[in-house]
Symmetry: C2
Subunit: 239 residues, 2 copies
DNA sequence: TGCCCTTCTTAACATTTGTTGCGTTTGCCC
DNA sequence: GGGCAAACGCAACAAATGTTAAGAAGGGCA
């Protein structure tokens, strides 16, 4: 059931109406598989569908002139990484599959028709893009102000909270299938430096990363380090 | 007429419907003045109104535990910096007046009622928050991947394009009333380093910054440096 | 005018991060 | 099982950026 992670998230962040969700689930979609490193959407493209990540991980990224690449966001099952194309024809970044992925494509027309009928669906989607924006703002803080050591801890806690919501965290262990180079691209540092910082985190007994599997070694130390304030994820309906 | 810059922007980015704009202009609002450095919204607050910047500059910012501050976005007349509170009760950052400011506050209720009546207004606002999100993503790239020298050039070109749209650029000169420390906070570097980079830009004959007034010395050099691709601002309706 | 505060400016030095290079490990495919 | 490519690990050195400190310049106000 491809809708489960999205519905889980929408219910948590917005207390979604069940009939709105049912109407969403009734929409036609096309499943497409992507392989690791395959480009889903290219900068400048004008998609006519929105995609829902049914399985796997994707990232948004931008490449600057000298070839350096910045990862803008990490997307997990249940995410709708190009909802903005309901309003703007072109994507202004790349969307790339990090792992083998299954994506459900839903036509803009079908979505727009549904939004026209049920304004609650439009509100849910608007909220979803607002959370996406809040995550981007937190990333600006992460890259701009936190030391690489803390930055990596914060990034990993953010991902853990989002993965926990869709049931992907077991025994303090979870998958974030990025290479060290890709973690570096998310943090604005090189792979060499990412390696240095990971070593420190391992030696300090905070956490361990092995080929995309994160294991928390000391929850208390991690919390103290990351100083994670998850309000921006809007995971508790009261916020 | 407080609506002019907003309408100018909405027309350019979305080809707004005139009747939607008229209905907006008919909404009741309260004008409030803020002084330089005064906090408009504090992290955690639950505003019941959205604000429109009628005059002056504001910034969103977040402060991390060790006291360092990151500026998340710079807002100019015509911006609606807390539109997201139509959907989420709390702000997750501070909103601070950089200069003496005049803000128009519009009640959420009035806005929501209007959106209920005229879905085009809701669409415009949704689009506006999407552009805001696109700007945040570009800032992640700026802070993460560009050298401080290029980063400052890029930031200034972005602001120039946005200011130009509302008629605030004259003869390659315009106001961005940030101190060097605040420019640093927007770029994730210290004021000392900002000063170093500004000196280089001045010596290289690219641009000059004096107490918040920017003067472009060599447009060609600036363009070549910043490699500014303004598509993310959605200023041409065709994008 | 003179005082005071903020901002700007610069230098010397410390720390972080990037660059280059190379050896090791891992996973995949024949 | 052997070979290959990608990812990991690490060290030496270079470059960018932070820290600290101090003086200069500017603006507001008595």
């Amino acid at each position: 059931m491809i809708w489960a992670p999205l519905f889980q998230r929408l219910k948590t962040t917005t207390g979604a109406d069940d009939r709105d969700l049912e109407s969403l689930a009734a929409l036609p979609f096309t499943l497409r598989n992507f392989r690791e490193n395959q480009t889903v959407l290219r900068d400048g493209e004008q998609p006519t569908e929105c995609c829902l990540i049914a399985d796997g991980f994707c990232v948004r990224s931008k490449t600057v002139v000298d070839g350096r690449r910045q990862i803008l966001s990490i997307h997990i099952p249940g995410d709708l990484p190009n909802l903005q194309n309901l309003h703007f024809p072109s994507v202004d970044h790349d969307l790339i599959a990090l792992s083998d992925c299954t994506l459900a494509f839903i036509a803009h027309k079908a979505l727009n028709d549904l939004i026209g009928e049920r304004s609650g669906v439009g509100d849910m989607f608007w909220r979803d893009t607002l959370v996406d924006a809040a995550v981007s703002r937190e990333w600006i803080v992460n890259v701009g102000q936190r030391s690489t050591y803390v930055r990596l801890a914060h990034l990993i806690v953010e991902l853990r909270e989002r993965l926990r919501l869709i049931g992907r965290v077991i025994d303090n262990t979870f998958e974030i299938p990025l290479t060290q180079e890709q973690f570096g691209e998310a943090m604005g540092v090189t792979s060499v430096h990412t390696n240095r910082i990971l070593r420190e985190l391992r030696i300090d007994g905070v956490l361990e990363l092995q080929r995309g599997t994160v294991r928390i070694l000391n929850e208390h130390k991690l919390q103290e380090l990351a100083q994670f304030d998850g309000r921006y994820l809007q995971m508790s309906p009261s916020s």
